[in-house]
Symmetry: C3
């Protein structure tokens, strides 16, 4: 009797805590209607104990690139085992695959395989990819709905995985170790300059974020307060071309003044202290926005 | 001793899980200030373990119709026992009743009885209605506040019900099996056409949602790729009148092209693939927006 | 054996519930990108069981005054022990101190000490202030990031405190019993009138909130339905000057009509029933917006 009691207690103590990982939702649904709440209801129906969090639901509609970037920006700050569900799905109901990526870091990403995994597959590493078997992993009685896989398939599968109702194997058949990737230019060091791209803006503050890493930037051998020559082009048009000081943080320059710094992802970025660099200088983001950085040269300084 | 221990453990294992249901909050308060957080603080004060979720807080101010629709759109995806608190309350402090509706599906709705329950009362069925007894179910020391029943009465009562602090009976006296309903026109089949209303837009994507159910639509005997004659009128003005193909999902037509489909609530809807149907054609929603659908006829096709 | 089992069970029953307090996050980061989610990931990494809630993330960028007000508006509705993390931090990376305030009410506030604590320090009382020791209370491997203390220091420390990983003493060294305060004018009674300030608008509804308390207002000896003479000035310009009735709640006047009432914080406020007082009359908020209230006098009534 005591043994049984003891075993029951050990089981109880170990099971519920061990089995549940956080579920993190991202979409382009906005927060004005009931779409996100329908997804959460499905998840709570899978497990009432599930910890459900939002990444963002304000991805611009159909913008897979930004969805990919927001996962890259945040996933590494969540514990291994966290299950991300990302639903930016312009191809809902077409032949794009519904997959779960497990990264080498132990994170899971439940999403249409449409480019959303572009960055995390590279940075966190592909451990395995499985295709969601909708014969098993689909909300009951939802088979007449073709337009809301976020609720019927992705939230449902993500919740089951996070709650331990299914294992990763239970998702469905294993696919080759690859995901659909959006092509993009990587940053490089060339002839004393670093050349990169502006993948995204820090929209809330108007800071300009680049894909130039700390490591690459360090090849310029700059120290804080050094001036840097920065040229930003949109296609063939030069939009910004000026010297900017390199500093650790905003407060190192006067209010309203520009600086170059390393942002919270350890990439090169540009800001105005308490101002909006992007709107002041008309900077955007995307594949056709390039940036070149070099130490200020007396020959070409202005 | 062992028996007592065993009983204690059984009690412990059964109680906390059984007693707590999710609490889901909806309002027209927006997310810019502290109103929603004050409600959540009151709920956490009732039970630190409570799982609290948001439906939306961006219901347009005083728009009871939209509050009613968002409950209808989402409640069925939450488990039985879930407690919804909806506070769109233009009549706060007047004689409208504060009630809790229990539906036949086992969901609870805590709200001013001002039309917010129009749809869920019909679709989920009225099991019982109780009036909130504010002598018991009101935040302590809040009796000098007349303008924030969302915090002082609804969140407090909803949290107590969800956490099992009170039973449904503990809400207050039972009322007749009825709620205040906003009058609206139901969809109908007439002379080979289906006539309905546009209760709401899928605002994030610009899709036009109707109140025409799958069952009613099926009386037109259409199959995928068939053309449908769609006429949308605002009052007496024809705003849209064209043929549109019926498809299962957006990807079946070219980007930017229109289609008629069955939405995530199994109602007829109109969309542009990756576009915004409502803004392109100037469609709105409400009681004075009517839609007529019929199979394309050679006689009147254009 | 039984005793050990019993002790283990008692320990288990008492520990997890006692140790965890709610974590409430506020910032000016907006909800469009991954900044808030990165903070939450760090918190979940500290403790998977933590209950994490949002106050708001739509504080206007760099607006410390509004951050201070939103804490004041909500903190008292949360249970003692709740940990608030507020990150409106225009001086990130400069010499402003990172602190945790414990109030006499038992609430904790984790924030840059830049004025954010102006109101709660006064209303809830300063029990103790400690400076965050970043040698201990900083996310591992984040020391190369200088611009996101919200994630690396504040969310991390707040989560550790809320989860019971550290005690308040574990935050760092104790500071004097003082916080940085933004100067502001207090309301006063003078010559039969009450004079106050408009610290903030109830933005969602357009109501005008003042810093005039119920107690101060009561010195005017008014009863419901009495007319009140209200004058609002912006600097030296009179923006609003009219009689308004005093009522308990909006529904006491016709739709669109003005009233003076006591708001959900027990302060004097102005509204139009189901309308937007602030935009109709062009009222703003801040240190240069003053309001004067007196009983309607026959001599000067208009």
């Amino acid at each position: 009797m005591i043994r049984i009691l003891f075993l029951a207690m050990v089981l109880f103590l170990s099971l519920p805590v061990a089995a549940q990982n956080a579920l993190v939702l991202q979409s382009d649904f906005g927060n004005k209607d009931g779409a996100v709440a329908a997804m959460k209801g499905v998840a709570v129906g899978v497990s009432a104990q599930l910890q459900i969090h939002d990444l963002t639901h304000e991805i611009p509609t159909y913008n897979i690139w930004e969805a990919a970037y927001r996962l890259e920006q945040t996933a590494r700050y969540w514990p291994s085992g966290t299950v991300f569900v990302s639903v930016v799905d312009p191809g809902v109901g077409t032949q794009r695959k519904s997959v779960v990526l497990k990264t080498k870091s132990g994170h899971y990403f439940v999403t249409p395989d449409n480019g959303t995994l572009t960055f995390v597959a590279g940075s966190l590493g592909i451990e395995a990819v499985r295709e969601i078997d909708e014969a098993v992993n689909r909300l009951q009685n939802s088979d007449q709905s073709y337009t809301f896989h976020g609720r019927d398939v992705y939230a449902y599968t993500g919740a089951r995985l996070a709650a331990g109702v299914i294992t990763f194997r239970g998702v469905g058949l294993e696919l080759p170790l690859a995901v659909v990737s959006i092509p993009y230019q990587r940053a490089s060091f060339h002839d004393g300059s670093v050349i990169g791209n502006i993948p995204i803006l820090d929209v809330q503050f108007g800071n300009v974020w680049t894909n130039i890493s700390r490591e690459l930037f360090q090849r310029l051998n700059l120290k804080h307060a050094d001036q840097v020559q920065v040229t930003i082009t949109h296609g063939h048009v030069v939009v910004f071309d000026a010297n900017v000081p390199f500093h650790a943080t905003f407060g190192a320059v006067d209010q309203g003044s520009p600086l170059l710094y390393l942002n919270s992802l350890n990439n090169v970025a540009l800001a105005l202290n308490q101002g909006d660099f992007a709107s002041k200088f008309g900077i955007g983001s995307g594949g056709d926005w390039a940036i070149s950085i070099s130490p200020k040269s007396c020959n070409k300084g202005k």
